[in-house]
């Protein structure tokens, strides 16, 4: 690497350089995920370009259309942002447990049941309460249901030793079956013939758009959730204990940390975010709960969380980027005659390359803050 070119010994030789060192240390620490992440994305795009060339299409044209479809106009930016809102929340459902070392991939189930719970509680309340209290009740109901759903995964993990990846996945399938049963049966709006749905939310109860934009308030709520999660992990005792338990469960237990409560607490918070995503889909997009809730936001959220390396703040730009990528699917189909699955194929390629690049962390001396302290032996 280029360590020798930026040899800190040379900097140390000049008198004023010492004041740069803390900055350089900070930069070295922060630069590693950014540089490796960007290199991984470029590599992934290059690999996908080879594939696109092989089938006789132009990768440059494809990437240009992706940009146009995702961020090329005010309309497409708003579309991307709307898609990002549920992704932010489902990504948190993966990222928070991941800080404890748990791989939970069942956010889809919590989202779906959260949406159903919100719709179910809204039906009796819409006549009794004005919109705001109703929406709060819907949000609470969805968060409780989502929290219990994923919290159960954490509970089973800690108290029964059931693998959380598998159980969350099974619960996801069970959740979708439950949703179908409820929407087809007791909660069905008799007027919904072709697409069984719950009773539609009256228009005045729907979550509106952010002033000046065609993006619903869910985006703001989701971004606040990301910021709160960041504070929770980085700045509270609860978060510190969770990070410690994620690093080494044994050490955490010996220190007397309540690992079980941490796991259940974190998974429950994570699930409540995914549930909230379901409520937002119902109250801001669909207007009722139906099979459209299982649109795969839970699965794309997994990708977002891993790309963000489970950092809640990094989730924000990445969810918006992926929202844009997904938004461009239709345009790719129309303009280039490529299948709409192009986006999924590209996502898969990027996902693999980015996870592969995890192996490069800590391998380059430039990113080691100690090198810049001048204390290198």
């Amino acid at each position: 690497m280029t360590v020798e070119a930026n040899n800190p010994a040379l900097l140390a030789g000049s008198g004023g350089a010492a004041s740069f060192r803390p900055a350089l240390e900070w930069l070295a620490r922060r630069a590693e995920p950014v540089v490796i992440g960007l290199a991984a994305i470029v590599t992934g795009l290059a690999l996908f370009s080879i594939f696109i060339l092989a089938i006789g299409k132009s990768p440059l044209a494809l990437f240009q259309i992706m940009y146009t479809g995702g961020f090329g106009s005010w309309f497409s930016i708003q579309n991307s942002l709307s898609r990002a809102a549920p992704l932010l929340l489902t990504a948190l459902c993966v990222a928070l447990p991941a800080r404890l070392g748990l791989v939970i991939i069942g956010g889809e189930g919590a989202l779906v049941l959260g949406g159903v719970a919100a719709a179910a509680i809204a039906t009796p309340l819409t006549g009794l309460l004005p919109p705001y209290p109703t929406l709060v009740a819907m949000a609470l109901a969805s968060m409780v249901v989502g929290g219990v759903w994923i919290g159960a995964v954490g509970f089973l993990r800690h108290y029964r030793g059931v693998n959380e990846t598998i159980s969350s996945l099974l619960l996801s399938y069970i959740a979708i079956a439950l949703m179908n049963q409820l929407v087809e049966g007791p909660l069905r709006d008799p007027a919904s013939l072709n697409k069984p749905s719950t009773l539609p939310l009256p228009p005045e109860y729907m979550i509106g758009a952010i002033p000046g934009m065609d993006v619903h308030w869910g985006l703001v709520i989701a971004i606040i959730a990301c910021i709160l999660s960041y504070v929770l992990i980085e700045a509270t005792r609860f978060g510190f204990a969770a990070r410690m338990a994620g690093g080494n469960v044994r050490a955490a237990q010996i220190q007397g940390l309540p690992v079980g409560r941490l796991i259940v607490g974190f998974t429950a918070i994570a699930g409540s975010f995914a549930g909230l995503a379901g409520m937002l889909e119902v109250a801001a997009v669909q207007g009722s709960a139906n099979a459209s809730l299982a649109a795969g936001y839970g699965y794309t959220g997994i990708l977002v969380a891993f790309l963000a390396r489970h950092n809640p703040l990094a989730i924000i730009p990445i969810a918006i980027l992926l929202g844009g990528l997904e938004a461009s699917g239709g345009l790719i189909q129309r303009r280039m005659g490529l299948p709409d699955a192009t986006v999924v194929a590209l996502q898969g390629t990027l996902f693999i390359v980015i996870l592969f690049c995890e192996t490069f962390y800590g391998r380059f001396k430039v990113f080691n803050p100690d090198v810049w302290k001048g204390t290198r032996a």
């Binding site: 030793g161 099974l170 069970i174 390629t349 996870l355």
Partner: protein, 308 residues
């Protein structure tokens, strides 16, 4: 009532028929996953491999007119997917579960991408053996019209059970799965064994996919799989990494999966969607009942990240 109406007997018959028909993909994917997990690695990406295998088999069968060439091509594609997973996971700091999730997306994406032109044309089907010709009931005949791959899966389960215990490759596989250090001390290259085990697992998972597209339901579309590839991972745990148990567990899954449609056929329509969830509920219940926070699952390979 017509004379071919067999009344309530239709329910157990439909469950048995469903168990046989639905279980075949589970048999192949779970046997493949059992091989991979026995080597100490978990491939969560078999769902992607299965769907990509389904697409490859269908496309090749359409183009060549031979379903068996389709199965062969699917095996090749599945092995490549396994090799990618196995290659990436040998590097330090790479999480095999996360790579599996990525491989799933990769496989699904490319299967839908490349399979788009094959949704319309129809492919020749895999042959089945009519074992029910002795019966005059068409329902019995239909139920015992069993696909060749089911028998291949059964024999494969027996063979693997024997091979894990009695052959050199089987022993090497188990040593690598139980202790990387012991394997190294014996001069075995654990990464290479895991690479081959993952490739073999991928090839078998792809056969499961080929069954879906070339026999039952026998068409190619984006909703071809209902999570068989993912369920197989749970199924292998349930089967305690034992190939014969994998076969039996697959039958049980197929049977519970057929419960809803079977009851519906005799007029029980209450809770149809809940019956659809029966295999998942069953798996979860068994996992909860048999897991323990204090010890690894009995029969689990020691190096498996899943049970650590």
């Amino acid at each position: 009532m017509s004379e071919t109406d067999i009344g309530l007997w239709g329910v157990p018959l439909a469950i048995i028929a469903g168990a046989i028909r639905v279980s075949t993909p589970f048999i192949f994917v779970s046997l493949g996953e059992a091989i991979t997990e026995r080597s100490g690695r978990i491939n969560l990406g078999l769902e992607g491999t299965l769907v990509f295998g389904a697409m490859t088999a269908y496309a090749v069968a359409v183009l060549t007119g031979s379903p068996w060439l389709g199965v062969l091509a699917a095996m090749g594609a599945g092995a490549v997917f396994g090799l990618i997973h196995g290659f990436i996971c040998r590097f330090p700091r790479v999480n095999d579960i996360a790579i599996g999730i990525a491989m799933m997306q990769f496989g699904l994406g490319f299967a839908f991408f490349l399979g788009k032109p094959f949704i319309q044309p129809s492919a020749p089907k895999l042959p089945s053996i009519p074992l029910g010709n002795w019966s005059s009931y068409p329902q019995v005949q239909a139920a015992l019209n069993i696909n060749v791959l089911f028998f291949v899966g059964f024999l494969l389960a027996l063979f693997l059970y024997w091979a894990f215990r009695n052959t050199r490759p089987g022993l090497i596989l188990r040593v690598v799965g139980d202790s990387t250090d012991a394997a190294r001390a014996m001069g075995i290259n654990p990464d290479r064994v895991r690479l081959l085990a993952t490739a073999l697992g991928g090839a078998l998972a792809a056969v499961g996919g080929a069954y879906l597209s070339l026999y039952y339901p026998g068409s190619w579309n984006e909703g071809i799989s209902s999570g068989q590839g993912l369920m197989a991972v749970a199924l292998v745990i349930f089967a305690r990494w034992n190939p014969i148990n994998c076969f039996l567990a697959a039958l049980l899954f197929g049977g519970t999966g057929a419960l809803g449609p079977a009851l519906q056929s005799v007029g029980v329509t209450q809770g149809y969607y809940l019956f659809y969830a029966a295999p998942y509920v069953l798996t979860l219940a068994i996992l909860i009942a048999t897991s323990s926070p204090h010890r690894a699952l009995s029969g689990a390979p020691g190096e498996l990240s899943l049970t650590k």
